[in-house]
């Protein structure tokens, strides 16, 4: 099940109404949400539900033991952590990477002239495995490191491990964000309900209208047959993809956050107007925030400050983080290339930052230059341009297509252009305009316009929301909705 499919229109009202009709206590509320979460998952494939539940039970038990043994028997605690890591990463590796590694191994063998081949398994990727695995692992790590005590309620923990709004694609929550909320009964507050509805509506605008319409018209046709399309079509496709992938995932995250708010539970934000970023580190603090904080907390932080050889080797640790991020996104060479590009980008940025700070120390005029509009603009252009180009391997089906597409951005023998009539053209302009406006309204000087909307009389706001709903019902592409991040 997904938030943008018709079944959700039946599922959500049922889950919501029954939830608020139940007694306002933790057991009833969490019990109902857990049941609904399992139904949500089982609608996709009930046979894989034991994988979700079994992993959660294991991590619950491991964390309880880790908590009980805190400060003693470090060897045993490491063993327990190892068991959780082995189970979670083992399941992820089996379902997500076994085919990729077998294929890569076969390629390596054939490269050295050997023709023995490892059989390639094609297994069904369990829904949301990349997200719920990281969430549970983060929790076990935090308990191991003593950041917070283990959860004592199995019901709360099962819900934490499989809460349906975030099950498919995050946001990836930390234990200390979600578990305390699950430990208390929730009340129905008008403020929260209003916020939930507005957040979901914005999510649907981004996901169902912008992402899907841009993807189908500008992006998919060109990536399906890049050689036939002109250079300008290549640029339109990759810029379109930048808008699509943002709208797709930020929109889906907003729907998840809004949906969760309907049940009185706040999830962490996942996007913070990333196209305003002026550096790669800032970009990664604003884009898929919950994944990146996970990667930096549990991989970069542990490696760069741990007791291993990697301690202090920041560049190498950064590269490992982005290789992991690339592989997390998908078991393919294109994602590895994407990770390498961003790892290198972050290293170059760090070196440049150190160098520039040296200049600032020597000459204060460099500080002024850094604060100038020109410096800000060039930084923004470089950051966004780099991210844009890194999306070529991210979207390509193969390394060969990546190469062809990069060439096509400079010169293409194809002459085709996406088939866009006047209506679609206007719709695309509106879509791009909405994404730009969405970002601009986050700027300090523009924020007051957003505030003004919420100061309007209630009936005016209501009418505006109504018109957005009608617009979505009229213009959302039909029957072709996909969710890019679901595949990860």
């Amino acid at each position: 099940m997904s938030f943008v499919e018709v079944e959700f229109l039946f599922f959500l009202p049922l889950a919501f109404i029954a939830y608020w009709l139940l007694p306002r206590n933790r057991i009833a509320q969490n019990g109902w949400l857990l049941l609904m979460s399992w139904v949500f998952y089982a609608c996709w494939n009930w046979r894989l539900l034991p994988l979700l539940v079994g992993g959660a039970l294991l991590d619950f038990g491991v964390a309880r033991r880790l908590g009980a043994l805190e400060g003693s028997r470090q060897g045993y605690r490491r063993l327990l952590l190892g068991i959780s890591l082995a189970w979670n990463l083992g399941a992820l590796a089996f379902f997500k990477y076994v085919g990729f590694f077998a294929e890569s191994f076969n390629l390596m063998l054939s490269a050295v002239g050997l023709h023995a081949s490892v059989p390639v398994l094609h297994v069904l990727l369990p829904l949301g495995i990349s997200f719920y695995t990281l969430q549970r692992l983060g929790y076990v790590f935090d308990v191991y490191l003593g950041r917070y005590p283990p959860c004592r309620s199995l019901l709360d923990f099962l819900l934490f491990a499989g809460y349906f709004p975030q099950l498919t694609a995050g946001p990836i929550s930390r234990g200390n964000e979600l578990l305390p909320q699950l430990a208390e009964p929730r009340g129905l507050l008008p403020q929260r309900l209003a916020s939930a509805a507005a957040t979901m509506l914005m999510g649907y605008v981004l996901k169902a209208w912008i992402a899907d319409s841009v993807g189908q018209t500008l992006v998919d046709p060109v990536f399906a047959d890049d050689a036939s399309f002109s250079t300008s079509a290549h640029w339109a496709a990759i810029i379109g993809y930048m808008v699509q992938v943002f709208s797709d995932f930020a929109g889906y995250s907003l729907i998840a956050i809004g949906c969760s708010l309907l049940f009185g539970i706040e999830l962490a934000p996942n996007f913070d107007s990333p196209f305003l970023s002026r550096s790669l580190p800032e970009f990664w603090r604003r884009w898929h925030m919950t994944l990146n904080r996970w990667l930096f907390d549990y991989i970069y932080g542990q490696l760069s400050t741990g007791r291993t050889w990697l301690r202090g080797r920041l560049d190498l640790c950064m590269m490992i983080v982005f290789l992991a991020s690339g592989l997390w996104h998908g078991a393919a060479a294109t994602f590895v290339l994407w990770g390498v590009m961003h790892g290198l980008g972050m290293i170059v940025h760090r070196r440049w930052d150190e160098y520039y700070r040296g200049l600032c120390r020597a000459d204060r005029r460099y500080v002024q230059r850094r604060r100038s509009a020109g410096y800000a603009f060039v930084s923004w252009l470089l950051t966004q341009g780099f991210f844009l180009l890194s999306l070529v391997p991210f979207r390509s089906q193969s390394i060969a297509q990546t190469g062809r597409f990069f060439t096509g951005l400079v010169h293409s023998s194809g002459a085709d252009r996406p088939d866009i009539g006047i209506t679609v053209g206007i719709s695309l302009l509106l879509a791009f305009g909405t994404v730009i406006l969405y970002h601009l309204l986050d700027l300090e000087r523009w924020r007051r316009f957003r505030e003004r909307f919420f100061d309007l009389p209630a009936w005016v706001r209501g009418a505006a929301y109504g018109m957005v709903v009608v617009f979505l019902m009229l213009f959302v592409p039909v029957g072709a909705s996909t969710f890019i991040y679901r595949q990860f």
């Binding site: 079944e7 309900l193 209003a194 957040t199 209501g462 109504g466 018109m467 039909v478 029957g479």
Partner: protein
């Protein structure tokens, strides 16, 4: 993101939003009313309520036979009546499912004395064309479906077996569409019909494609039909066709297989020589030895390109009337009389 101070304000926002949606929906309904299409469920209900002489089973094209049925009833003063069951985008396997799961209980229904309830039913027409015998294309849209004829139990069983997918989701989409039939926004939600009608309204005349687009679409159809030879006569579909023929024979129904007319402009000589001839030949070889009549109307009717809808596939309202009149005067003229086997029952 939103700032609602209290329940009162929130209620005002919600009511205003709802009123806005209802008002706009009403305005859209008034300017471009939803076009109600006959679905498999309508056919099943008609059969449940009546005792027809002819049962027509087919894809969306069976809607054309609904018009033909009206013309037949008019000509015979209701002595011969037709129930058509259109299964949107069906394949032969889907027709078999519909026949054995939904229609058979009604066809075989008996009263307390043991007599057939629908004792007039003497003829069955299977309306088909070449792509009905191709397997479902991988990655093709899932709007197809027997799901249009499902009950909640059928839906639940399919979800249990396969999980929610594009195929069984069609059941929910259909349920959602018909939840509020008076709503243009909801009823047209999965067809984009509303937008097309609004565009027509804005233009003040039918929206026509540019000539280049028309040519490109024609060429695409021609190529598709020419390439059809590669996928026709899929064993699973052929087995289903055989089962349908067996079904009719077991009940002594006078069966006819009609190959539905195609838009003339989409048919090249190559397509006629290859895909279409081979398909007609294969159907004849399977059906005629079992006493089933095969009528190939693929390019023999007087229907012209203008008698087809913009989708190049379906016959438009005027074309349906033209087809019904012509067909009852020619190849389907036998429908005006009762078959011998039924007359002797």
């Amino acid at each position: 993101m939103a700032r609602a101070q209290n329940w009162g304000q929130l209620t005002v926002v919600a009511v205003a939003a709802l009123l806005c949606v209802i008002t706009l929906d009403w305005a859209l309904h008034a300017t471009a009313p939803p076009r109600r299409l006959r679905e498999a469920q309508d056919g099943i209900e008609d059969l449940r309520r009546s005792n027809p002489d002819v049962l027509v089973l087919g894809s969306s094209h069976a809607r054309t036979f609904h018009v033909l049925g009206q013309e037949l009833a008019r000509r015979t003063h209701d002595r011969q009546t037709v129930v058509s069951v259109p299964l949107e985008n069906g394949k032969i396997v889907a027709y078999r499912w519909l026949l054995t799961h939904k229609l058979q209980p009604l066809i075989d229904e008996r009263d307390t004395a043991g007599h057939r309830v629908r004792d007039r039913l003497a003829r069955m027409i299977l309306l088909t064309e070449w792509w009905d015998t191709c397997p479902r294309e991988a990655g093709a849209p899932d709007w197809n479906i027997p799901a249009r004829a499902w009950t909640a139990g059928d839906f639940a069983a399919d979800v249990w077996a396969h999980g929610l997918n594009g195929f069984n989701r069609n059941y929910l989409q259909n349920k959602f569409r018909t939840l509020i039939p008076a709503s243009a926004l909801i009823y047209d939600r999965f067809q984009t019909e509303l937008l097309i009608r609004l565009a027509r309204l804005a233009h003040g005349k039918p929206v026509t494609r540019p000539a280049s687009e028309e040519q490109a679409k024609t060429a695409a159809w021609q190529t598709m039909i020419e390439k059809g030879e590669q996928c026709i006569w899929n064993p699973a579909q052929v087995q289903a066709l055989n089962d349908i023929v067996e079904f009719a024979r077991a009940r002594q129904l006078d069966m006819t297989i009609v190959l539905f007319p195609r838009k003339p402009g989409t048919l090249t000589d190559t397509a006629k020589r290859t895909t279409l001839s081979r398909f007609a030949q294969d159907v004849r070889e399977l059906a005629e030895p079992q006493g089933v009549r095969v009528i190939d109307l693929t390019w023999t009717t007087p229907l012209q390109d203008a008698d087809f809808m913009e989708d190049f596939d379906h016959v438009n309202a005027a074309g349906n009337l033209k087809f019904a009149a012509w067909a009852l005067d020619h190849d389907l003229g036998f429908l005006t009389s009762t078959p011998a086997m039924a007359a002797g029952r």
